[in-house]
């Protein structure tokens, strides 16, 4: 019933719009327990890769496999195992924190009574649950958005620039959460252009530039020094 897989494979995936190339023949495999850092300058194609893994974008050529099967073969149930947090946060500003979480819980077929309160507590918003989201600070929204994205305990966790606008404490919380998820068997993919924050967090590095994958290797310490020239102002 619950579609599951332990790896995501992109096989020679390209995506272009006319002459504008977003991705060119990218082959990448990510597995359970990995925290993969998709690193690269702005406009490199990181967001497109995330979109492909989230089934929101279709490749022009190539195929994306979840386990052995494609998204089409798995049907809508596949999305039960995917969680996405992008820069825009995907929250309804007119609704309260609780209402946002309840909506998404029900959308994923979860029992709100069992999950929403716990999620609010984890986000540190238990006392602000009934306040509208448009009154929240950026940090509060980020914490709520994080819980929303992870509410259904997805196997594939996709984060696109999750650290934007966060203070140090929040960055620590997010990093710890990601480590927890990975050690719990999730496949974590993190796209960011901030090498310092990725340092020490990611277990593997996939370097993207101009739509191409130029490096795919285990992470070592000192990411900034190693990749700075590759990732730095293009």
């Amino acid at each position: 019933m619950h579609a599951d897989f332990d790896s995501v494979r992109l096989v020679e995936v390209s995506r272009h719009f006319g002459r504008r190339r977003a991705l060119s023949k990218v082959s990448l495999t990510v597995g359970a327990g990995d925290i993969v850092g998709l690193l690269g300058p702005n406009g490199a194609g990181k967001s497109t890769l995330i979109g492909l893994m989230a089934t929101l974008v279709a490749p022009t050529t190539g195929v994306v496999r979840f386990g052995d099967r494609t998204a089409r073969e798995m049907g809508p149930d596949l999305r039960k195992a995917i969680g996405l947090l992008a820069h825009e946060l995907h929250l309804y500003p007119e609704l309260s924190a609780r209402q946002n979480l309840t909506f998404f819980a029900e959308l994923y077929g979860l029992d709100p009574a069992a999950t929403v309160d716990a999620a609010l507590a984890r986000a540190g918003l238990a006392d602000r649950g009934d306040d509208e989201v448009n009154g929240f600070s950026r940090g509060m929204r980020q914490r709520l958005a994080l819980e929303r994205a992870l509410l259904h305990a997805p196997r594939l966790v996709l984060f696109d620039e999750p650290f934007t606008g966060l203070d140090d404490r929040a960055v620590c919380l997010v990093s710890d959460r990601l480590r927890q998820l990975a050690s719990g068997g999730a496949i974590v993919v993190l796209a960011t252009h901030d090498l310092d924050l990725a340092d020490g967090l990611v277990t593997r590095v996939a370097l993207v530039r101009d739509g191409r994958l130029i490096a795919d290797e285990p992470a070592t310490s000192g990411l900034r020094a190693r990749y700075r020239s590759a990732v730095g102002s293009a």
């Binding site: 089934t55 809508p76 996405l84 500003p93 909506f103 077929g109």
Partner: protein, 226 residues
Amino acid sequence: MFLRTALLVLRKDFAIEMKSLEVLLTTLFFAVSCVLVFAFAFVKDGRAPEDAAAGILWIAIAFAGTLALGRTFERERYSETLRALLLAPAPRAALYVGKLLGMLALLGVAEGLLVPLVAFLFQASAWFSRPLLLLAVLVGGTVGFAAVGTLFAAMLVRARSRDVLLPILLYPITIPVIIGGVRGTAALLASPADEVTATMWIGILFAFDVVFVTLSLWTFEPLMTE
């Protein structure tokens, strides 16, 4: 799962709308202004030309509906929540149905205000002589317009020039709805009410609805995937 998802989306939109009633109130007010503008354009010596009332009603529905469509989807664009919806583990066409139902509810309320208003301004009694048939014409036309409109508004969410492209695409394609709505309504306003003509138009409108709701359900997912 399909219907459940559609109803969840509907309920969520309803909850958001209830907080401020922004879209509803501004749409209603706009529709009323529309009616007045057209009334001033057509009324001469205190009388409107024959069948102008039916025409004015449907123009107001079409214009107000287009605005409402744009505003409803603008909400989903704001925090990219449309992406989050597309990630739901349900057939994506269910999102379309949820949005369509919301649109129908909104237009239903608008028509609930507009029909009495137009009846009040032009020949009150004739409007309600065949209420069931009138309802059928309104439902048939509104569903057709909303079905195509919801699909186009959704697909244009990420497009440039989306505000002006929506009416450019929507109006020519839904002309049969406008014609059917106006002629059907006008037939019911004639004295005596021309039930045969009205029924014929109702048939055409419902055929349109079936074809275009089906087409929209088929094309929603391919259109919303980038």
